[in-house]
Amino acid sequence: MLLQIAFLILAATTLVSAVLVITQRNPVHCVIWLIVTLFSVGGIYLMVHAEFLFAVQVILYVGGIMVLFLFVVMLVNLDVAAKQAQFRRKWQLALFTAVVLLGEFIYGLMRGKHGLSLTAAPTVATSEGNTQAVGRALYQTYMLPVEIASILLLVAMVGAVIMAKRKLE
């Protein structure tokens, strides 16, 4: 019961702050609300015993990506854009489409939710902690994908530097 109340509080925080992210006018406020969203998603990770993922979420997302976002908000002059219209002209149509999509998702989920409850979840009593288990999965089972992901990060870093630097005359 306590667990469910905690989940509902975290879920409500996530959704409300996510809605605030896409409705605020000032981009700095959007970044702050996105940080709140990411923290509550991290709380959800804690509820499913993914402690390592929580640490990654806080360090990498809140500490890294959000600082990057704040830097760009600072570098780009947004005073003009903040005074203009924040939504597109046909935003009602887009909202309607997205709400229909949401309705379809929820309908499908509620119809098929009985198939989701595995009666006997294979409970493997492991002595190792979550970080150890994730590390084992990453460096043994998913060795090649980890290497590919690191190359992807390297390419993205080089690409970001090349695109953001000034052209040399």
């Binding site: 996105l34 959800i44 597109r88 294979p122 089972t141």
Partner: protein, 101 residues
């Protein structure tokens, strides 16, 4: 007393839809990028929920790959925004129509 899995999936669905609405309706490119981050987090919630359901850590490993992708996407996207702002002096997505006739 555990939490049913479809609660997590409903939360992921809601977060995904908020992200989709943000991508489709906002004009500011930076906020569109932030909405993409919301969508990626919704995916992560689903992965982690199924990871708990099947009692493995494979889903968590995939969530880490998704976070890696999010980092790469944010770096490239923000670099693009800086280059774009230097050339066109705007961050509104509907004013960036260089390729549109």
């Amino acid at each position: 007393m555990t939490i049913p899995v479809h609660w997590y999936l409903l939360l992921g669905t809601g977060l995904f839809s908020v992200g989709v609405i943000g991508v489709l309706t906002r004009r500011n490119v930076i906020i569109i990028l932030m909405s993409i981050e919301l969508i990626l987090n919704a995916v992560n919630i689903n992965l982690v929920a199924f990871s708990q359901l099947f009692n493995t850590v494979n889903g968590q490993a995939f969530a880490i790959f998704v976070i890696t992708d999010a980092a790469a996407e944010a770096a490239v996207g923000l670099g693009l925004i800086i280059a774009l702002f230097r050339n066109k002096e705007t961050v509104n997505a509907d004013e960036i129509d260089l390729l549109k006739w």
